[in-house]
Amino acid sequence: MNDEERSNTLTDQDLDRLLATFEEPEPSAALLKRVAEIPLRVEQHAARAWWPFESLARPLLGWAAALGVGLLFGITDAAPEVPWESGPSTAALSEEADGIEGDPGEDAEQWVAWALAQEVDEEAP
């Protein structure tokens, strides 16, 4: 009879009887003492000493909520667009610009004279 044939004759009950011979050791008195003293030796919630949140999910949820609030109020409080019609027309602005170029006026002449004087002063030894 080979092992496979023999294994077929080993019933569940037989196997349980064999397994029952594997003894269960008693924990030592030293282990009982060490385990019982854990609350005295080990600080609880040690992880919270440097991490104020219970889990990573909490701060992530907080950030997500803040982002949502920011998006909501960011959209509703955005600076209103100034209607184009209420400002000066491009034609009016062009005319104003042309006027400055063509006739700088008294102030412009004074500024040019001042700037030239500055350049002369800088070039002087």
Partner: protein, 194 residues
């Protein structure tokens, strides 16, 4: 009827464990000691049968309860027993891996003293063979067998402890028992012959 009462008893213990776990999370050392009284012996036996050495088994049991005390506040909703066995299983697997990477001298089984009655020696021989057969099982098969057969966990609790589904656990158990049948068949045949 009997099965129902066993299941009800198991559920009652699980419920009590959950309450104890809540109290442990609040720093209640008495609740912690009650959990120790309930589960230390079984946890130690599980680690001993997984690792085959008392010193290592004690280290694993102590580490598992240290983590229980430290992390009780994050375990609400978990079953204390399944959680403890999950931690112990993982610690044992880590140790077995390290042992395979750097083989060490095994805790030698004490030789039977001379002059023992023959029946006693025979009993010792069978026990040694069973111990060797169990320890030769693949790690997950061994864990499944120990949790269900020796520690009396339900299949759902054992599956939770091992992080597998119930069907996977059933498969592990079936393969473990089949492997044991094959490796112990010779021992069984000799026992019957004698």
């Amino acid at each position: 009827m009997c099965t129902v009462s066993v299941i009800e008893r198991g559920e009652a213990i699980t419920s009590e464990d959950s309450q104890l776990l809540r109290r442990v999370a609040e720093g209640d050392a008495q609740a912690y000691r009650t959990l120790v009284d309930r589960h230390l012996r079984g946890l130690h036996a599980f680690a001993y049968r997984m690792l085959g050495g008392r010193a290592e088994a004690e280290e694993v049991a102590q580490e598992a309860f240290t983590r229980l005390w430290q992390k009780a506040d994050t375990l609400q909703g978990d079953h204390a027993q399944a959680w403890l066995y999950r931690v112990a299983h993982n610690l044992c697997i880590d140790r077995l891996r390290r042992r395979r990477e750097a083989p060490r001298v095994e805790d030698a089984e004490a030789a039977p003293p001379s002059g023992q009655p023959t029946a006693r020696l025979e009993q010792k021989r069978v026990a040694t063979a069973v111990r060797a057969a169990v320890q030769e099982l693949p790690d997950r098969q061994r864990s499944a067998l120990l949790l269900v057969h020796y520690q009396g966990l339900s299949q759902a609790e054992a599956a939770s402890a091992l992080g597998v589904g119930v069907r996977a656990l059933e498969s592990l158990l079936a393969r473990a028992r089949q492997n044991l049948r094959q490796s112990l068949s010779a021992v069984w045949a000799e026992t019957i012959d004698e």
